[in-house]
């Protein structure tokens, strides 16, 4: 356990730029854009009464006010979406390099001179991709969303309506990030085949890891499509593309499961009159009822095991 803590720290030292700074910079950009437009908006209102943008001072009360607070407290995490999308790239490229960089610069000889098993090393990288990186991103995303939310409330306040009290009292404000964090297990299970595939390629390829990781499934799909069309053999190429290629390349995208299982789990918030975040939460956990996620988990674990074996047996230098 102590070893694992240090292995994770090690990964953070090495990849701080990718894991922390990349999402942080994106978040800062979004914040700057959002705050900029809020401030600019206010500016117009106060200085130019003839402007068509001018709303002047309004006081919103009653049901309308409640609806606004409800919507805002449920939907404010939407501002974090771009940051969460960055997560897919971070996880993808982190995994591609995880077992290849150390071989390329030969530092693997140093890591292997320490009493740390190949299993713990590879597992620390899996944990980083599936737990640490998502939590860091979610943290940054939450801070960003809260910042924008409060800035928006501040802008509304400038127009005479104070939403702060109601907003801070709204349980959704606190529940929304927690619900997202509660989706982490779903994310882990759906991202496992991608992480496993990328780590396996990373442990095998001598160079050009990206080409191997992306090229192999794409060429395989093309061949299958060709065989299906030209030879009229009963292969279902599109099944291969959607069930295998998508799963090993796009599994690290947060929310990918909604697309993968779109035909099976529908977002029925209209029907059940549930709030949107709650619907997503329930539907996401609902995807775990299907078989396909578990097949992916099995494949992912097998590929991670292969990566461990490769790191143990492969010769360097």
């Amino acid at each position: 356990m102590k070893t694992m803590k240090w292995l994770i720290k090690r990964e953070l030292w090495e990849h701080k730029g990718m894991l922390v700074w990349a999402p942080a910079v994106i978040a800062a950009l979004i914040a700057a854009l959002a705050l900029g437009s809020i401030i600019m908006g206010n500016h117009l209102n106060f200085n130019d009464d003839s402007s068509p943008l001018s709303i002047g001072s309004v006081t919103i009360e009653g049901t309308a006010r409640m609806r606004i607070v409800e919507t805002m407290s449920q939907a404010y995490m939407v501002s974090a979406m771009p940051v969460l999308m960055v997560l897919s790239f971070v996880v993808f490229f982190y995994c591609l390099g995880a077992l290849n960089d150390e071989r390329r610069d030969r530092s693997i000889l140093f890591w292997k001179s320490l009493p740390v098993s190949d299993m713990s090393t590879v597992l620390s990288k899996v944990a980083l991709a599936l737990v640490v990186a998502p939590l860091i991103t979610l943290g940054i995303g939450t801070v960003l969303s809260l910042l924008i939310l409060f800035a928006a409330c501040g802008a509304v306040l400038a127009h005479g309506t104070n939403l702060f009290g109601a907003m801070l009292m709204s349980p959704d404000l606190y529940l929304t990030p927690l619900r997202l964090a509660g989706l982490l297990p779903v994310y882990i299970l759906w991202a496992l085949p991608t992480v496993g595939w990328l780590l396996m390629v990373s442990s095998m390829a001598r160079s050009k890891v990206f080409l191997w990781a992306v090229g192999t499934p794409l060429v395989a799909s093309l061949l299958l499509v060709w065989a299906e069309k030209m030879l009229h053999i009963g292969i279902n190429a599109s099944w291969f593309v959607t069930r295998i290629v998508d799963r090993i390349l796009l599994g690290a995208v947060p929310g990918s499961w909604i697309i993968f299982e779109g035909d099976r789990v529908a977002l029925q918030h209209e029907v059940h009159r549930m709030a949107v975040p709650e619907t997503i939460f329930t539907a996401s956990w609902g995807t775990l009822g299907g078989i396909s996620v578990w097949l992916g988990v099995v494949a992912g674990v097998a590929m991670i095991a292969t990566a461990v074996w490769m790191r143990r047996r492969r010769e360097e230098g």
Binding site: E14, S107, P115, S117, E315
Partner: protein
């Protein structure tokens, strides 16, 4: 004295090329052994086998363990510096110390810090910003602070200037080595290690061609500056090699009694380098 390493009939091929071809040897505890051989003779493969970094055929026991199956446990007792400059570029001095302290049960932090205090390395320095010599200093500081039973060095001073090289071996001898430790070292810079070695192993074409303590080497091999009138008689004793210095032939003999040779001329103990050249004759021919 128990054997730290026992190797029997080690074999390993890369494709059709044999890297190890039935090498057998033992290394006793408390020795500094030089494994010396020409390029491609199987030195590095031998070290990799000992460290569990490669698969091979034959029998090999290191500190009572099989490096193929018990590598993780073995690494508690064994340290190695493989080549120079294999520390990752992004690593900071303080992080390196923290990490090794965190994962190695036999690491003594104060020892490493004491050693680093005598260098120009500062805690926040990254490997990227270090010269080759400094990287080796950092690596040596980490390794010397680990109380390992066996230290394996593969060309540890390759590409370093003479100041770093001398300091490296001096530190190794003065601050690290004791009777409980064993050091196995390969290098091409024979002159620089020969005075610190206690044992010598020559490896040629994947086989051990000579394994002896330095004392035995001194007894067994003799170099004679033969006076001209004794050249024919000396040649009859089949010298290993012969070269000419100042017009006089210098012959290297294996196993001929010194008393007998002393009649031919001036005697001396050959340097390891001379011995190496003589015994590897024809390697690249």
């Amino acid at each position: 004295m128990s054997a730290v390493i026992t190797a029997g009939n080690l074999s390993k091929t890369y494709g059709k090329q044999a890297a190890l071809n039935g090498a057998s040897f033992t290394v006793e505890a408390g020795r500094i052994v030089g494994l010396i051989g020409p390029n491609g003779s199987g030195k590095t493969t031998t070290l990799k086998a000992i460290l569990g970094l490669t698969q091979f055929e034959g029998e090999l026991t290191v500190l009572g363990m099989d490096p193929r199956s018990q590598r993780d446990a073995l690494m508690n007792e064994v340290c190695f510096i493989a080549d120079v400059a294999i520390l990752p570029k992004w690593l900071k001095v303080k992080d390196a110390i923290d990490f090794v302290e965190g994962v190695h049960p036999r690491f003594n932090r104060s020892k490493a810090e004491k050693y680093l205090a005598n260098t120009k390395l500062s805690p926040n320095m990254k490997v990227k910003a270090m010269s080759k010599g400094m990287v080796v200093q950092l690596h040596l500081a980490l390794v010397m602070a680990i109380d390992a039973k066996l230290l394996v060095l593969d060309e540890p001073t390759l590409g370093l200037d003479i100041l770093y090289r001398k300091q490296f071996y001096q530190n190794l001898l003065e601050d690290y080595f004791d009777e409980n430790k064993t050091i196995l070292i390969t290098t091409h810079q024979i002159e620089e290690v020969e005075h610190i070695l206690t044992d010598l192993m020559f490896i040629q074409d994947g086989k051990i061609s000579l394994a002896a303590s330095m004392d035995e080497v001194g007894e067994r091999f003799t170099e004679v500056m033969v006076e001209p009138q004794f050249v024919a008689a000396a040649n009859a004793l089949q010298p290993m090699s012969q070269r000419t210095v100042f017009g006089k032939p210098i012959m290297l003999f294996d196993g001929v009694p010194r008393l007998q040779l002393s009649t031919f001329g001036e005697l001396r103990t050959p340097s390891v380098a001379d011995l190496f050249v003589a015994s590897m004759k024809g390697t690249y021919a």
